[in-house]
């Protein structure tokens, strides 16, 4: 592709100063993410996958190197509201209804009132939550709450969706279903998605590109381009030979990156 990458990192470094001395969280990260890519970051804890995502979101500031998001600096991109961020926990406001929660970013970004309701309805149907707008978060299951938080990140027209282990706290059956829905949603909206996970099948099933990371210092070990077809994939693609081969490569990459030490 000749287009400018949506996310471009060159020699990115981040060192945290802690009481036990400096911690090298990210070391010499080079990565391009093209528009419309679904990129998974996988690795053991401490490999910096979440930290890198937070750098893209300008929630952390790198101590060295270059990072461009949508052709801007990460901080400018944050101020331009270029991305939606989904956290590990849904983090819905208990005092707002589901619709009220989805409306939160719209209120802050100053969308006209007339437009808000239409947008809320649209994204709630995208995540399969029609008719739940008037419910309060505690009335929904964990999976539905997480879907509502995805709807909240989709409500405004950010082209990038950053997801930090969004399904990590859910059981496997719910996770499968949400993975399938996420792929449909991704192909329907043509967004660029950065997705942090520590599940190999999840990473392989979802991604067009899998970034295998290794710890201490956090760095990219290998970038695996998926040969699986783009767009919605059936769940049973996970039993195919091709899928298993990619999963094997990811596991080998993790092993070579010392993910299985200790």
């Amino acid at each position: 592709m000749t287009a400018v990458p949506v996310i471009k990192a060159r020699g990115l470094n981040l060192t945290f100063q802690t009481n036990d001395g400096p911690v090298h969280a990210l070391k010499d990260i080079d990565l391009d993410i093209e528009k419309g890519d679904f990129v998974s970051f996988i690795g053991p804890s401490g490999c910096g996958k979440t930290t890198f995502l937070r750098c893209i979101a300008a929630l952390e500031t790198p101590t060295g190197g270059e990072l461009r998001v949508n052709g801007m600096s990460a901080e400018e991109a944050r101020k331009a509201r270029s991305y939606g961020y989904v956290f590990q926990a849904a983090g819905l406001y208990p005092w707002r209804t589901i619709a009220g929660n989805v409306k939160l970013p719209l209120e802050i970004m100053g969308y006209p009132r007339s437009e808000m309701d239409a947008r809320v309805e649209k994204v709630l149907s995208l995540v399969d939550l029609e008719g739940f707008g008037k419910k309060f978060p505690w009335q929904l299951s964990g999976g539905m709450q997480q879907r509502a938080s995805i709807a909240r990140a989709l409500a405004f027209d950010a082209e990038i969706l950053l997801m930090d282990e969004p399904f990590g706290a859910l059981d496997e059956i719910v996770r499968d279903k949400l993975n399938e829905e996420l792929l449909k949603l991704w192909s329907a909206t043509n967004k660029t998605i950065g997705f942090v996970t520590h599940s190999i099948p999840e990473a392989v099933y979802l991604s067009t590109k899998i970034v295998v990371m290794s710890p201490r210092p956090g760095r990219i070990h290998e970038v695996i381009e998926s040969t699986l077809p783009r767009g919605p994939r059936p769940l049973d693609i996970r039993d195919s030979e091709e899928f298993l081969q990619i999963a094997h490569r990811v596991r080998e990459g993790l092993r070579a990156g010392h993910a299985y030490d200790e």
Binding site: A57, L59, R78, K79, R81, Y83, G84, Y85, F87, Q88, A89, G91, Y93, P94, W95, R96, T97, L104, P105, E107, I108, M109, F136, W138
Partner: protein, 287 residues
């Protein structure tokens, strides 16, 4: 209904103990009177006498009940002997002080959560203010304000506010800091301003903390008002009623005023509790 039996049992036990204490504490006076008159008294005569003295050391429960009833229902409510009249004087100062204290507590809490300088400078003083006995401060405030020509409700309200701002301050600081990193990060991804973070996240998060503090604050406010009514010859209010009772040895009057104050405190706390229920329910925070 399951709740009623234990509550009544405890109440009955308290009344029995109280009657026992009445006999024990008041019998000395009966024996002294009898000795002075050169008479012998039987135990049953002692018991009867201790229940019906005019100025007992400890009035019997029924004497307090009669005193309360006469104070509340037996007088015109404008009478100086009416507990409703005195209760209203105390209540109005309590509510004024509560409003003042709550407002001050919330304002300081907002300042403390938004400014590190205020956090470091205001909090120690707020804590220090509560270590000074209110009984020492109250007369000075009353006297100073009286010399400026300010009397009546305001000085009492200021002392009530002095006691009630603190729980509100502590509760609100905790409440405004309740949102975790994730929730603050989320608003950061929306590039929300400090004001939006306050109105949309911090303030709603602090509501349960605020109401817990308000319950403590309203009771403290009542205590402050009553203490403020004790010095400087106040003639109106439950505190004044307590004081004049002790001047003239009218123990029944003291105990009646005491119970009136306790009832008032209970009502205030319950009212705050009801407002809490309604507010949190409307916010969807009560299941």
């Amino acid at each position: 209904m399951k709740m009623v039996a234990p509550v009544l049992t405890v109440l009955a036990a308290i009344i029995v103990l109280w009657y026992g204490a009445t006999v024990w504490l008041n019998s000395q006076w009966t024996y002294d009177q009898a000795a002075r008159a050169g008479q012998e008294v039987s135990f049953s005569e002692v018991v009867v006498d201790t229940m019906n003295q005019k100025r007992p050391v400890l009035p019997a429960p029924h004497q307090v009940a009669v005193g309360l009833w006469e104070g509340v229902a037996g007088q015109k409510i404008t009478s100086k002997r009416s507990l409703v009249y005195h209760g209203w004087i105390t209540l109005s100062a309590t509510l004024a002080g509560f409003a003042l204290g709550t407002g001050l507590g919330i304002l300081l809490a907002v300042g403390i959560t938004h400014s590190r300088a205020m956090d470091l400078s205001v909090m120690p003083w707020a804590i220090a203010s509560q270590t000074i006995p209110i009984l020492a401060i109250a007369p000075m405030v009353i006297v100073v304000l009286a010399s400026l020509g300010i009397t009546g409700l305001l000085p009492k309200a200021i002392i009530a506010a002095y006691l009630s701002f603190f729980p509100v301050l502590v509760g609100m600081v905790k409440g405004l800091r309740a949102p975790d990193h994730m929730q603050l990060d989320l608003l950061k991804t929306y590039n929300a301003s400090k004001g939006e973070t306050f109105w949309k996240l911090r303030l709603p998060s602090s509501m349960p903390y605020l109401f817990a503090s308000l319950k403590v604050g309203v009771a403290a406010s009542l205590v402050g008002t009553i203490v403020a009514e004790l010095p400087a010859g106040a003639t109106r209010g439950l505190g004044a009623r307590l004081l004049s009772g002790s001047y003239y040895g009218q123990t029944v009057q003291i105990w009646s005023a005491l119970f009136a104050a306790a009832a008032l405190a209970a009502i205030l706390v319950v009212v705050v509790g009801i407002i809490e229920q309604i507010t949190l329910k409307r916010m969807g925070m009560v299941r």
